[in-house]
């Protein structure tokens, strides 16, 4: 069969209007954005949407954002984003009621672990938390148990609302470990240090990680050493988000490149040439 539009299991990528329902700061330079949009219908955990921020015609690209939760019945999507540049700064100025468009659902999301009985480990760094939360919901729904590590530079940057909800998703014998680089909250140090400790205590079936690339590289290395499966959600500058431009290449161990927006953003960590 010849390829048609890029399609996930539930839907084909399309252009969807959205209306901002809420957009408020939840940690230093981090915002929670809730939109109402038909794009909610097709979204799988780990996929992303590509959001237009209207107003400044000198910035032409959209902003790719993962989501934490969808509520298809109410056409709602919840996203969290950090202000890192002009686009996200202008996004933070959009008020409830503002309208724009999103391209989505984009890419391929998280996969359930091969062995659903084994405990999984989730590792989020910084604003990598939203898709990790989506993974947590997916796992919880499938009855997979998991621990989670949530890292940030400092307490002020921890997205507590999402961490609290994450804590509600973990099983009784599992836990959420918070780590900050400066020790202002949780344990002091990197998520990798926490992970070293946890992998010595438990036999994990699969690691799910999203955060700064340098962190994910470390997480993937620990997983590889322990022969634990690892899925990582990668970021790239994206021109389109639907496979048209070739801008979002991810180097593969096997040589050549994959497309972050089509083959990812979630990759099997051991296929990636970090």
């Amino acid at each position: 069969m010849s390829p048609r539009a890029p399609a996930g299991p539930r839907g084909t990528v399309g252009l969807h209007e959205f209306i901002v329902m809420a957009n408020e700061e939840v940690a230093r330079d981090a915002y929670r954005l809730e939109i109402s949009s038909s794009v909610s219908q097709g979204l799988e955990a780990g996929q992303f949407i590509n959001v237009a921020v209207p107003g400044d015609a000198s910035h032409i690209l959209r902003i790719p954002l993962s989501f934490s939760r969808t509520d298809p019945a109410n056409a709602c999507v919840e996203l969290f984003y950090a202000i890192v540049g002009e686009g996200t700064r202008r996004l933070s100025a959009m008020r409830a009621g503002a309208v724009s468009t999103a391209v989505g659902p984009c890419g391929k999301g998280w996969r359930l672990p091969d062995e659903p009985a084994a405990r999984c480990l989730l590792v989020a760094g910084g604003i990598g938390l939203p898709p990790i939360f989506a993974a947590a919901e997916m796992l919880a729904r499938a009855g997979v148990r998991f621990d989670a590590i949530v890292g940030a530079q400092t307490e002020a940057k921890l997205v507590f609302p999402l961490i609290h909800d994450l804590e509600r998703l973990v099983a009784d014998d599992c836990r959420v470990v918070v780590a900050t680089d400066d020790g202002s909250s949780g344990s002091k140090g990197f998520t990798t240090t926490v992970m070293e400790r946890l992998v010595s205590e438990h036999a994990y079936g699969c690691v799910y990680t999203c955060g700064p690339e340098i962190m994910m590289r470390g997480i993937a290395a620990i997983a590889a050493r322990g022969r634990i499966a690892c899925q990582a959600s990668l970021e790239r500058m994206m021109g389109c988000g639907f496979g048209a431009c070739g801008g979002c290449n991810v180097p593969l161990i096997s040589g050549g490149y994959a497309s972050c927006c089509m083959d990812g953003p979630v990759f099997d960590a051991k296929a990636v040439a970090w």
């Binding site: 048609r4 539009a5 084909t12 032409i60 690209l61 431009c245 979002c248």
Partner: protein, 308 residues
């Protein structure tokens, strides 16, 4: 169509139902956009530049944003003619049947590579309506200078592939020395000229002192280059008598109309497809509305109708 304006155009033998084409490298192989609209409503699509053998392209980052534009250094990543046809050939053949012209683009680093690519396209993609020669590739034999950076070099590569091409041959020009190179390509047998390709540019992260791309320079595209592209299309249209495919920063019907007035027979939407995947059909609608306001019976009457 509702307006009653005839929109069909003939781009050097590529018979398009309307003047809207999509730019190589910004539209995948067409099927990526089918989720947004019926791609066959466009006049043509131009496929991503394709080499005889697969090219991996450049490392990341391949894209960055600048004022009213983007820069890229994709490096013509592509799976080679056979790889393209394997994955997208059936779709492209079907798109032709649906009435949308398919233009395959050939790239190479040497004249021999161009000839191989063109031969393979002729062999494996006999359904395509046209072949576009992208002469903005780095010429390995000349230390990475543009294959088509001088009139002589441009003529040489066009002459070398012309006998191998049994269908309309478009030549996609780099935005340099336009009238001279346009004349050279016409003289060497091009049926139409496509311009402009991206403009070589540079963006430095001043904190790290490094390029914001994986190479020192990249190609600038988008609204920033539109007024330059219109001027170059105008110069080319004055210099040659073969039709022009106008490309560069088209993001509205008015932008497309400027290209047509400057002398373009077809207009090609590039970068705008990326953030705005329904741009091409929207621009088609706006263009038709403009033609109707101008009171012409066919869009052809407006080609080159700029009044100095």
């Amino acid at each position: 169509m509702v307006s009653g304006v005839g929109m069909a155009v003939d781009l050097g033998g590529v018979k398009m139902r309307n003047p809207i084409n999509t730019a190589s490298g910004t539209f995948g192989f067409g099927w990526q956009l089918e989720g947004f609209y019926d791609v066959s409503t466009l006049g043509a699509i131009t496929a991503k530049g394709t080499s005889a053998e697969p090219w991996p392209g450049n490392p990341a980052p391949r894209l960055c944003e600048v004022s009213s534009g983007i820069m890229n250094t994709i490096g013509l990543a592509n799976p080679g003619v056979a790889g393209v046809i394997e994955k997208s050939g059936a779709y492209l053949a079907e798109l032709e049947r649906r009435g949308c012209r398919v233009i395959m683009q050939a790239v190479g680093h040497t004249i021999e590579e161009y000839r191989s690519a063109v031969r393979l396209i002729e062999e494996l993609a006999p359904f395509v309506s046209g072949i576009e020669l992208n002469i903005s590739c780095p010429n390995i034999a000349r230390g990475g200078k543009l294959v088509g950076g001088t009139p002589e070099d441009a003529a040489e590569v066009v002459r070398a592939v012309r006998p191998l091409v049994s269908r309309p041959l478009l030549v996609k020009m780099a935005p340099v020395r336009v009238p001279e190179i346009a004349r050279a390509c016409e003289g060497a047998g091009a049926d139409a000229l496509s311009l402009i390709n991206t403009i070589n540019a540079m963006s430095i992260d001043v904190r790290t002192r490094r390029s914001r791309l994986s190479k020192p320079t990249g190609g600038l595209s988008g609204p920033a280059i539109h007024p330059i592209a219109v001027r170059m299309v105008w110069e080319a249209a004055q210099a040659v008598s073969i039709p022009i495919n106008g490309i560069g920063g088209i993001s509205s019907g008015a932008d497309a109309a400027e290209m047509i007035l400057a002398g373009a027979t077809a207009v090609t939407v590039g970068t705008q497809n990326l953030p705005d995947p329904t741009a091409a059909p929207r621009i088609l609608g706006e263009l038709e509305a403009w033609a109707s306001e101008q009171g012409v019976s066919g869009i052809n009457e407006l080609v080159g109708a700029f009044e100095c």
